[in-house]
């Protein structure tokens, strides 16, 4: 089940990182480059920016820009060809999601299946904020009582 392309590319990635670590590749950026004939530098920048937003389907923790998997190389080639054909970034993304679903996008679009993904963290933050407000209010109500008492009521249950 697990012996898919994943392993070979993971090993390759490890090797690549090791090579980087040894300082062999220090001077060049760590793009998994297939030499693509870019017309100019801005086109290359656009390509790099776009492929960084796309997820490699094989090593899913790598972007299309970074992955050494053969499928990633094929998809980079296709993305490049579509750029040459004058397609916009959105058109290229639509072409990919038609085949590989939203999974290829690191930035998933907002729809019914992803609202928890988008708003979950905000909900947790709100809940945490509300909890803090409740605790602080309760303490400030207790504080004057403690000041008036002859002995401080230090070891009560509120004192965590």
């Amino acid at each position: 089940m697990t012996w898919r392309l994943f392993h070979s590319c993971e090993r390759l990635a490890l090797l690549a990182r090791f090579a980087l670590f040894c300082g062999i590749l220090v001077s060049t950026p760590a793009y998994a480059v297939d030499p693509l004939p870019f017309k100019n530098h801005s086109e290359e920048l656009r390509f790099q920016a776009l492929t960084k937003q796309l997820r490699c389907l094989v090593c899913q923790n790598e972007s299309l820009a970074d992955s050494n998997a053969p499928l990633a190389a094929d998809l980079r080639r296709d993305v490049f060809q579509q750029m040459q054909a004058g397609k916009s970034d959105d058109e290229i993304k639509a072409w990919l999601t038609a085949r590989y679903s939203d999974f290829v996008l690191y930035d998933p679009p907002l729809h019914a299946g992803t609202w928890l993904l988008w708003f979950g963290p905000a909900l947790v933050l709100l809940a945490g904020g509300a909890a803090i407000i409740v605790v602080v209010r309760r303490r400030s109500r207790l504080a004057p009582l403690q000041a008036n008492a002859t002995k401080p009521v230090g070891d009560t249950e509120e004192d965590w």
Binding site: Y100, S101, W160
Partner: protein
């Protein structure tokens, strides 16, 4: 509520969340990318035969009957696990079994089939991997059930098992045959 229990409650909540995450990842392989192509027409293609690259077979030739498209390659370890199942149960499916040789050296593929046997009715070869991308293939093995109208009805990622044949493939195939008989 006793406020001293509040941190414990918070911890229990986080614990439950993480525990659910572990439970979920046990039963769901994150690499099994959901296919948006199910229920949609399979891509149009025409690919050379593995045995005879001069001849091509594609969606036009395969149309009219349901078929099972099985993505395999000699470099694919998991395909070796799947292969005996296809050899023993492939005929039991009652539909055409199409081998899709994915990004493979033809000689390696032929040697592999000579060694382990050939369960396929026809084998097409996608050396550059372009048609595989149209099918949303992420690796091998992957299996597609395509109906007589050329619509993808089902996709399975990972090696096929006897359970998958019994619970997923055969019921769908018999349904397709019932629909065809009407």
């Amino acid at each position: 509520m006793n406020a001293r229990l509040l941190p414990l409650a918070g911890f229990a909540l986080v614990f439950a969340l993480l525990g659910f995450g572990i439970y979920w990842s046990q039963s769901h392989d994150p690499r099994e990318v959901p296919s948006p192509l199910i229920g949609k027409p399979a891509p149009q293609f025409s690919l050379p035969l593995l045995d005879d690259p001069a001849k091509k077979v594609g969606s036009a030739e395969l149309a009219g009957q349901p078929y099972l498209l099985n993505v395999f390659a000699s470099w694919c370890f998991a395909c070796r696990d799947e292969h005996p199942i296809l050899m023993s149960d492939g005929k039991r499916l009652g539909i055409k079994l199409v081998g899709f040789n994915y990004k493979d050296e033809p000689d390696d593929a032929k040697r592999w089939l000579a060694q382990y046997g050939n369960p396929y009715d026809v084998i097409i070869a996608d050396y550059p991997g372009n048609i595989a991308i149209d099918f949303g293939v992420t690796g091998a093995p992957e299996t597609f059930l395509v109906d007589a109208e050329g619509v993808i009805r089902y996709k399975y990622i990972s090696p096929i098992t006897p359970e998958i044949i019994a619970t997923e493939l055969l019921p769908r195939i018999s349904l397709l045959k019932q629909q065809a008989a009407k």
